[in-house]
């Protein structure tokens, strides 16, 4: 594992972005509940949860991937597995 470069900068960048997104989500919690309540009258609001899920999966997904790589957890190289 040690011969690999650990992606510390990427982990910090995506980690910060992820934390900011979660803070925004929880701080505006009431607004999201309000939008969900209004969806029956204003159908286009259904897109909000879908869009939020995609945005979070991009930033938090990249963060968690880099995080475990920084911790030294990497996949076996193709062809090296199943020893």
């Amino acid at each position: 594992m040690s011969q690999h470069k650990r992606p510390i900068t990427a982990t910090l960048l995506y980690g910060t972005a992820s934390i900011v997104l979660y803070i925004l989500l929880l701080q505006n919690s009431d607004l999201f509940v309000e939008w969900a309540q209004k969806t029956k009258e204003q159908k286009s609001l259904f897109l909000i949860p879908v869009a939020v899920a995609f945005v979070f999966s991009y930033f938090h997904g990249a963060f968690t991937s880099h995080f475990w790589e920084s911790m030294g957890l990497r996949a076996a190289k193709s062809g090296d597995k199943k020893k």
Binding site: M1, Y22, L25, L26, S29, D30, F32, V33, A36, Q37, K38, T39, K40, K43, L45, F46, L47, I48, P49, V50, V52, A53, F54, F56, S57, H60, G61, F63, T64, S65, F67, W68, L73, R74, A75, A76, S78, D80, K81, K82, K83
Partner: protein
């Protein structure tokens, strides 16, 4: 909160959802599905109404599956074409499955649906779970005597399926290394969706179907299931979101934990053999099966089929059932971590040698 559908979040329920999400994510990354059967009851225990729990669970499932599928695609384990085709028919299965549930509810009430879910649980998990587990044990024995990985064996059924040529419906699939008629994939996708709508874990049918009916290796089947879950999840989220019942806060909190988990599960697959994936899947299915035995007396009592039981007894049995589900998930999680640690250690040794 003005609307009773959406609970107030506190540190306790946030942490609880994060942890369950993490373990569920790990199992999903490894066997293609899992976690949902614990997350829905866990949310309901925290006071989330059933419909919101199901909707929020689905909403966390599709981004989780997307991240997992992309990760495993990097390792060359995903058959995107098979996943998308099965996913589309699974979506139809979900819609039909929801109708069946609604009809049963109208006719027999909540207890009727619970009993129906339990019967499906018992039949599917007993038949498929014991079959998968037996196959994993057979492969382990073969590996022990042979000293090397048991080769992927295409079952007789899959060989027959691959041998049938129906003009105009044939398609080549990378995972099968063969052409198969889409007409065989339609019922498998549909059944996966039906099961997802009934017990929330379509993968318990989808993955074994891809292995034993179509002839895909377990590693590829479990990775492809993530594509199916993504397609089903997007459709399900849109449907529930139109009704305004998705609690995006709950979904994203579960996602926070499950994305940490899914990375570990996906990485774990690169260090293990097909037999380990089958073993973890079979083991979880069999333990989940036992959880049903704790719920059934309560349903039978409510339906008047056995002598009435006290509420306290029913609640205790339900708690034992929920606990057993958690044991299933944790056992899967621990097995994955142990396999990963062992695999990484063996990999390091092999690199040094």
């Amino acid at each position: 909160m003005e609307n009773s559908l959406f609970i107030d979040l506190n540190l306790y329920n946030t942490l609880a959802l994060f942890v369950v999400g993490f373990i569920g994510g790990m199992v999903s990354g490894f066997i293609g599905s899992g976690g949902a059967f614990v997350l829905t009851p866990a949310m309901m225990t925290l006071g989330v109404p059933g419909i919101v729990a199901v909707a929020s669970n689905i909403c966390h499932k599709f981004p989780k599956s997307l991240v997992g599928a992309m990760k495993r695609h990097k390792y060359g384990q995903v058959d995107v074409k098979l996943g998308i085709i099965m996913g589309i028919f699974a979506e139809l299965g979900v819609i039909h499955g929801k109708h069946v549930m609604t009809d049963i509810k109208t006719e027999y009430g909540d207890v009727g649906t619970s009993l129906y879910v339990s019967v499906v649980f018992v039949i599917v998990l007993a038949v498929v779970g014991s079959f998968v587990l037996r196959d994993a044990v057979r492969m382990f024995r073969q590996e022990k005597t042979g000293g090397m990985e048991a080769p992927h064996e295409v079952t007789k059924l899959a060989r027959w399926v691959q041998s049938i040529h129906i003009p105009g419906t044939m398609m080549y699939f990378d995972s099968l290394k063969a052409r198969v008629s889409v007409l065989f994939i339609v019922p498998l996708g549909f059944a996966t969706g039906m099961l997802a709508a009934t017990i929330a874990v379509g993968g318990f049918v989808g993955v074994p179907a891809m292995i034993y009916v179509l002839g895909a290796p377990a590693l590829m089947a479990s990775a492809t299931e993530l594509v199916i879950a993504f397609v089903m999840g997007v459709g399900g989220t849109i449907l529930y979101s139109l009704d305004g019942v998705v609690d995006i806060r709950l979904a994203m909190i579960i996602l926070a934990g499950s994305l940490f988990g899914i990375q570990i599960g996906a990485i774990g697959t690169t260090y293990v053999r097909d037999s380990v994936v089958k073993f973890v899947m079979g083991l979880i299915m069999v333990i989940v099966l036992f959880s049903r035995f704790f719920y059934i007396p309560g349903y039978l009592s409510k339906l008047g089929l056995i002598a009435p039981m006290e509420k306290y007894t029913i609640d205790t049995l339900n708690l034992l059932g929920d606990g057993t589900l958690m044991v299933a998930l944790t056992t899967g999680g621990v097995t994955i971590i142990v396999s990963l640690i062992k695999g990484m250690a063996a990999h390091r040794l092999a690199q040094k040698a």
